[in-house]
């Protein structure tokens, strides 16, 4: 399962789900599903999210089972 820090970084930047969705060109629901780990975004969307949240993609997404503490 793909884990992520989208919710945490979005809050840190002060974006609402709708604002982030508008920046990266998706629906608000899509951001919600990504944050809950119920939808794995494409590489292109992951890159756009990483760009707006100002982190590398591998800092934003990682596979469950990898060392979660390294990402914090």
């Amino acid at each position: 399962m793909l884990r992520n820090r989208v919710k945490e970084l979005r809050a840190r930047h002060g974006f609402s789900q709708s604002e982030l969705a508008n920046y990266v060109g998706v629906a608000r629901q899509t951001i919600g599903f990504i944050e809950r780990g119920e939808f794995s975004p494409s590489i292109a969307l992951s890159l756009r999210l990483a760009k707006y949240l100002e982190v590398r993609v591998d800092e934003l997404f990682w596979l469950e089972g990898e060392d979660d503490n390294d990402k914090k």
């Binding site: 998706v26 629906a27 629901q29 899509t30 599903f33 939808f39 494409s42």
Partner: protein, 169 residues
């Protein structure tokens, strides 16, 4: 952008259900009229009052077109309203190759649309053999028309329920 459960594209299957329900009503009189034509109006002029017509068929004959007109007026009003509010996601009135209920403006909804279509595929693969079985019996043609229209209505219900569960989040 936020997709809401009141979005015209989400509600599109409900419009399909309304259309096919009206066609089901109208089909009764169409089948009856065809039966009269192909049997040279046998039994129609044998009644004591001169003309012997099925009352339900007569009602269906007039109610069907009337309901269709009301339906299409409401449909075009909603379609225009949707296109005015969503200039980047305009829908055409009659799209044969891309049904209006397909929502593919981002990758989540493309996947949801694919999953909903998969459910509909499974439904048809299970139900069509049963319709073939039904056709072995000597029912009136209207029964088969109703069976097929019911499949289309249930298909739209399955699709609508699946899409709605995602936009409700």
């Amino acid at each position: 952008m936020t997709m809401t459960k009141n979005d015209f594209r989400v509600k599109f299957p409900l419009w399909n259900i309304a259309l096919y329900s009206i066609l089901m009503i109208w089909a009764y009189s169409v089948v009856y009229s065809a039966d009269m034509l192909f049997t040279d109006f046998a039994g129609v002029f044998d009644g004591e009052d001169g003309i012997n017509l099925d009352t339900i068929a007569v009602l269906s004959f007039f109610a069907g077109p009337l309901l269709l007109i009301i339906f299409f007026i409401a449909y075009f009003i909603q379609l225009n309203r949707h296109n005015e509010n969503n200039p980047n996601n305009r829908m055409s009135a009659f799209s044969l190759f891309k049904p209006g209920e397909f929502i593919e403006f981002d990758e989540l909804f493309s996947q949801v649309t694919q999953n909903a279509s998969k459910k509909v595929y499974v439904f048809y693969s299970q139900m069509l053999p049963l319709v073939v079985l039904l056709m072995f019996f000597p029912f009136n043609r209207y029964v088969f028309i109703v069976a097929i229209l019911l499949l289309i209505i249930i298909q739209n219900l399955i699709y609508y329920r699946h899409m709605r569960s995602f936009v409700s989040h």
